[in-house]
Every structure is written in structure tokens, then in C-alpha cells.
């Protein structure tokens, strides 16, 4: 097996490891933080634990995009070109609705809103990939 192919596969393995590692730790942190018995210092530490892992995921994504060819990069750009304005639209709407009627933080806190950004990116990715198929 050529070195470049081996390195790409190793890179993929680390990418998946980073993602699933972060997902497991994030879910664990969410479950722990649901407990009311912990003091605030412990809760703060638990809340911070997933952050470096997510930074590792982002670093892997960034490196992966750097290894893509020009069309793949364009697809990523078009995905973000949809996700970014949709995110702005969501945040603006929530901000105005919060002023208007007061949103329940249990329904519309940051922890509930940020997955939408990921969903917008996925929608943009699917749309862009279809365009060039």
C-alpha cells in the first residue's frame, strides 16, 4: 500500500476517533450536568471537558478540507454558504422572539440551538453534492 494512501487512511481513523470520542464525552457531560447534586466547580470542569475534544474534531475537519481537491472544497464552501445565513436567520429570529414573547430557556438554550447549525451544514452539503453529481 502506498504511503500516501496509508497516511490518508490513518488520518481518517483519527478523524473518526476524534468525532466519536467527542460525541461520547459530550453525551456523558450532558448526562452528568443533568444531576443537581454536583457543586458548581465540578459542573464547570465537566462542562469544559468536551471542548478540547471538539477542538480536535475541528482540527481534523480543517485538515481534511485542506487535503480535498478543488471541487470538494467548492462543495464545502457552498455548504457553508447555505449554513451561515440560515444560522444568522435562526439566531435573529430567536433573538426577536425572545424579546417579543420570552422564550423558555429549557426549549431554546444554546445547547438546543447549536445542533441546528450542524443540520444546516448537512443540508448545504447534500444540496451542493447533488449539484455536481
Amino acid at each position: 500500500m502506498p504511503d500516501t494512501v496509508r497516511n490518508e487512511r490513518l488520518s481518517d481513523v483519527w478523524g473518526y476517533a476524534a468525532f466519536f470520542g467527542w460525541a461520547a464525552v459530550y453525551i456523558g457531560a450532558r448526562l452528568i450536568l443533568e444531576l443537581e447534586t454536583l457543586d458548581w466547580r465540578t459542573r464547570a470542569v465537566v462542562a469544559i471537558v468536551p471542548v478540547p475534544l471538539f477542538a480536535w474534531v475541528l482540527w481534523n475537519v480543517s485538515r481534511g478540507i485542506g487535503q480535498m481537491d478543488e471541487l470538494q472544497r467548492r462543495i464545502q464552501l457552498e455548504a457553508l454558504a447555505l449554513a451561515f445565513p440560515l444560522t444568522l436567520l435562526l439566531l435573529m429570529t430567536l433573538g426577536l422572539m425572545e424579546l417579543a414573547i420570552g422564550l423558555n430557556p429549557n426549549d431554546w438554550s444554546y445547547r438546543h440551538v447549536w445542533p441546528f447549525v450542524f443540520l444546516f451544514y448537512l443540508a448545504g452539503l447534500i444540496r451542493a453534492k447533488r449539484r455536481y453529481e
Binding site: D69, E70, L71, Q72, R74, R131, Y132, E133
Partner: protein, 79 residues
């Protein structure tokens, strides 16, 4: 923009994957170029030209140009 990439590739009996490997791009990129859904960057077009031993003008042309560049080597010599 249109191109003759599919014809040139077929003449050499290369698959899209063969060409993609030779150029260091994905097969999807080759397919998108061949179907006219994506116009390659100038560096990629030049790399394709080098591989196919063709000039960029002989492979890629505008929709309203009617076909490959009609500038022949003889015509170039007269300039």
C-alpha cells in the same frame, strides 16, 4: 463552457478513476467536468492538457464558440 475531456479520455481508454488518479483529484471532479457541471481551475486545466498533450483551447471552449479553438499551428505562425 464545454469540453472534449470525455472524448480524449475514451481515445486513451482511460476510466474516470484512472484520470482522477493521474491528476490527484476525485472521480466526482472528473465526472463533473465531463458533464459540464464544473469548470476546472486554470492550473487543473493545464495539468489535464499536459496529461492529454493538448492545449487548453483544444479541450475547453465557450458554449457560443461552436467547438474547439480553430487557431491552427499554421495560423499561429503567421502572427
Amino acid at each position: 463552457m464545454r469540453n472534449r475531456l470525455k472524448v480524449l479520455r475514451a481515445e486513451r481508454d482511460w476510466s474516470q478513476a484512472d484520470l482522477a488518479d493521474a491528476l490527484g483529484v476525485s472521480r466526482q471532479t472528473i465526472n463533473a467536468i465531463e458533464t459540464g457541471k464544473y469548470d476546472p481551475s486554470l492550473p487543473l486545466a493545464l495539468r489535464i492538457g499536459r496529461l492529454m498533450v493538448q492545449s487548453v483551447e483544444e479541450m475547453f471552449f465557450l458554449d457560443d464558440a461552436g467547438g474547439p479553438s480553430r487557431v491552427t499551428p499554421a495560423a499561429k505562425g503567421k502572427k
